[in-house]
């Protein structure tokens, strides 16, 4: 008899899990339950539709509902799972009878950290997540003159850029001293902040949100530095693991707030796997569990969970966290630890910085690329990197993530080979230059 695999959640992890389960065992009855109207779209693209870089929301859908049905996935839309009964191996579904399972995959995603301030019930607070709500909000943005973005998270950076592109007077407030302070350093993000200011954005760092003000609808944001009148507030707080169902079912939760899993995405309860923003995984350098990574992490975790739930064998690895984004007029990115994060954790490190170029010096379109490398002071293995430029950041971040994973040293990077072709690569690779500067700094 065909095994029934139930997936709770239809985001990147849930759909990745469902597809991988079906691919591993085509005879399996794979059911996905999502409380939302859609699955399989890219929420990461939403800011770029708001900013008019992408012309419409239709492009964000990865496949049609008919396509998923054609693949044999039984997806239940706008259907909430209200409880996980792991003892009886069944899930409670709102408005329906309990559904038994042989294998269960929890992919319940995240919630934005709720601002613990008055006024969160006012109209005019936008949490960027659901594409249907985003379509509605996009029409609202046509009439918005002033917006406040709450916190300079990765989404916050994208939304500030998008709103500026849209010609909306944009304020950014964040309690940290610079944007994306959890992941990057002030010298790396400085060009981004400068370009925002040139677009008219008002940046309020070291500023804490104290409330949302208004009667029915928002009229202003209250902060530690005073009130900011606005038509909407875009709440871009930290992503917190949605573990309500998992916690109630007795799954173990870790210190990062995510469901505890092993390399096969197996949870603390047999026949139950979990993947995506609701779990935590170890960081490859520090071995500390972390949570709330990117869509690509969620999707690949989902595939691991789905494969294993269906009877296959696939392993995940501790993460080095390459990241990158367009913010303002710049691309920024990095891997693993920033100088700030390493200092916060008290991890001994040495730093090397270089400013190189992205193409041959004489080739049109050449841009500067600033690279900062962090290494442990003993063997000089790479433990982190930060970059800013106008091209080539993502590729370097991917490469350096693999370098961190493999324990590549600064000496390796200082003598790395690189592509030299005038339109696409400079004679001296900026990563190599940063590594050489690090070594030179240690000798002096």
């Amino acid at each position: 008899m065909a095994q029934r695999i139930v997936v709770v959640g239809g985001g990147a992890a849930g759909i990745g899990a469902a597809g991988a389960a079906k691919g591993t065992d085509p005879s399996a009855d794979v059911r996905v339950y999502t409380e939302f109207e859609d699955v399989g779209y890219s929420p990461c693209g939403i800011p770029y539709v708001h900013g008019k870089e992408i012309p419409d929301f239709d492009r964000l859908f990865l496949a049609t509902k008919e396509a998923y049905a054609g693949q044999g996935l039984d997806i239940h839309y706008e259907t909430s799972v209200t409880a996980l009964n792991t003892r009886d191996k069944a899930v409670s579904v709102h408005g329906e009878a309990d559904v038994g399972y042989d294998k269960l995959i929890v992919a319940t995603g995240f919630d934005y950290a709720a601002p613990a301030v008055p006024g969160t019930d006012l109209d005019g607070l936008y949490y960027v997540k659901n594409i249907r709500r985003a379509i509605e909000w996009d029409k609202v943005l046509d009439g918005v003159r002033t917006a406040v973005v709450i916190e300079a998270s990765p989404l916050g950076l994208e939304m500030v850029t998008a709103l500026c592109h849209r010609g909306i007077e944009t304020h950014l407030i964040d309690p940290s001293a610079w944007a994306l302070a959890m992941a990057t350093d002030p010298d790396i993000v400085a060009p981004v902040q400068q370009s925002w200011a040139e677009k008219g954005a008002k940046l309020h760092f070291n500023t804490t949100l104290t409330g949302f003000l208004g009667s029915g609808s928002i009229r202003a944001v209250a902060t530690s530095a005073g009130e900011l009148p606005c038509d909407i507030a875009v709440v871009c707080t930290k992503k917190e693991a949605n573990t309500r169902l998992a916690r109630a079912a007795g799954l173990h939760i870790g210190s990062a707030g995510g469901i505890i899993v092993d390399e096969r995405m197996q949870t603390s309860i047999p026949e139950v796997w979990a993947a995506g923003d609701c779990i935590e995984v170890p960081h490859s350098v520090t071995d500390i569990p972390i949570q709330g990574l990117s869509g690509s992490h969620a999707y690949s975790q989902g595939k691991v969970a789905g494969t294993n739930a269906a009877g296959g064998d696939r392993r995940y690895q501790p993460v080095s966290v390459p990241w990158g984004m367009v913010a303002g007029d710049w691309m920024i990115g990095g891997v693993s630890l920033s100088e700030t994060l390493a200092s916060a954790l008290g991890i001994p490190h040495v730093v090397g910085v270089a400013e190189g170029i992205s193409r041959a010096r004489y080739y049109p379109g050449v841009e500067k690329v600033r690279v900062k490398l962090l290494a442990e002071p003993g063997e000089l293995r790479l433990i982190g990197a930060q970059m800013v430029g106008r091209e080539g950041i993502k590729e370097r971040a991917d490469f350096l993530a693999m370098a961190v994973r493999l324990g590549i040293t600064v000496a390796d990077l200082a003598t790395m080979e690189n592509v030299y072709s005038p339109p696409i690569g400079a004679l001296n690779e900026p990563i190599a230059l940063a590594a050489q500067n690090l070594l030179a700094g240690m000798r002096s």
């Binding site: 001293a177 870790g254 210190s255 505890i260 779990i279």
Partner: protein, 84 residues
């Protein structure tokens, strides 16, 4: 929120405040405002104590907290010798 999670979140917050003060000064960025009340304890007592403990000891303490890192994570075996 569990004790371990609260401890981790609060510790991270004040360690980051201190790190922003330190790194921000290096790059001439206005530092975060000084915390008040119980935040002063975390910044003035906890952070220096944390930094005084050697990294291997701190790391060992952090690894004792509940989390996925304590589950099985097999290190990938790298082939040795020439590829061909």
């Amino acid at each position: 929120m569990s004790l371990s999670r609260w401890l981790r979140a609060t510790s991270e917050h004040y360690l980051m405040v201190a790190a922003q003060q330190q790194v921000g000064a290096r790059y001439m960025v206005p530092p975060p405002p000084r915390p008040r009340g119980v935040g002063l304890f975390w910044l003035k007592i906890y952070v220096p104590l944390y930094r005084a403990v050697p990294w291997p000891v701190r790391s060992a303490i952090m690894r004792r907290l509940p989390g996925s890192h304590r589950m099985t994570w097999t290190k990938a075996q790298r082939p040795r010798g020439p590829a061909i």
